[in-house]
Symmetry: C2
Subunit: 215 residues, 2 copies
């Protein structure tokens, strides 16, 4: 990386941290310059405006989310194993973020009535993740893990709701054991849509499942 790119990356990392704590709206060039020990014009030379900076933060968040949650899930078999990996990665991400907050979730509340390019950027990344989930649910039906009459949009609404509920209960109400609740609800939710064949497969004893995994 050239020096300019390195500086930009470093600014973005600090900006992401700030936005997670103070909200995207709490992000200003002045505050960022102070945290970086740089001049305001120094920060401006990397991001043309406060709005550009906010959008870059949103995209950076999305990149990290994809690296941590989406790409690893593609290692799993199409269908329910992949859907389960997506959900597991998602709630782990939300719990890792408990100290700071998820930009998808806090951003949705910050920007629900503030039209503009930042809101558009946020909606675009949230929709991208939901499209990925939707595709995975559709594949789960195709491979016979979920019933044919499953409404994929309904499943996506319910999965997203469970994650919002987890975020709320851990971060705001600070209720212990909320992650286990989310996992339990996921399994119950999926059972409503699972085919008998797929339910039977799931009932393999743990030993058999372990043996099938690479050493």
């Amino acid at each position: 990386m050239r020096k300019g790119e390195l500086t930009r990356t470093a600014i973005l990392a600090v900006a992401l941290d700030l936005a997670s704590r103070e909200g995207i709206e709490g992000l200003t060039i002045g505050l960022l310059a102070e945290k970086m020990g740089m001049s305001k014009s120094g920060v401006f030379s990397h991001f043309g405006s406060r709005e550009d900076l906010q959008i870059a933060v949103v995209k950076q968040y999305h990149d990290r989310f994809e690296q941590a949650v989406f790409y690893p899930s593609l290692q799993k078999a199409r269908g329910l194993p992949r859907l389960r990996a997506m959900f597991e990665g998602w709630i782990k991400r939300v719990s890792v973020e408990l100290a700071s907050g998820c930009i998808y979730i806090s951003g949705a509340v910050e920007y629900d009535d503030k039209p503009g390019p930042v809101r558009d950027a946020l909606i675009a990344i949230v929709k991208e993740w939901r499209e990925a989930l939707l595709k995975c649910v559709r594949l789960s039906i195709e491979v016979g893990d979920l019933k044919e009459n499953t409404d994929p949009l309904q499943v996506v609404y319910e999965l997203n709701a469970l994650v919002l509920g987890l975020h709320h209960d851990t971060r705001f109400l600070q209720i212990p054991g909320s992650i286990e609740r989310a996992q339990l609800s996921f399994e119950r939710l999926i059972q409503n849509y699972q085919t008998t064949e797929s339910l039977a497969t799931k009932k393999l004893p743990p030993a058999t499942k372990k043996a099938a995994q690479p050493l």
Copy 2:
């Protein structure tokens, strides 16, 4: 009402509207005085501080929520009919508020990492509502509508999650038909916990149900 009380009530109504739009943190004595055509000291004479005002708004919101959702649900029979009424009233409230926003939900994000009296007041009212839901779920088990092995806290987590999902999908993503999705998910969720007897009762034809209602 005395004149002082009337003024206080009027200020509170405007403050609640402002807080729904701009967030509780967006509420200032200055902005409120401007909207009311009053002096700042005039507003201060009714609320000792900005924090007192914010707490009064939170309590006012809670009173209205109770009037609109909780008290009407008590007219329904203990158990599932009451639980259904509570959920129906809740999602209607969230959809009425779509133009402005639910203070319980936006407040949870605004104050999740801001300790202090406003956060405490918000947590207190949210917990009060959850206690009411919890009690209703427990009664539903007692009267035999829900299975004995139902975990009431799990049901409350799931109900809250469905409402957060609805708020997110309607207000941020503006997806049409989200209320119907929430209703469908509620029915599916409840079916997981319903006793066979209670499921059988639910299958009465609509005509019978209508006839049993007062004219």
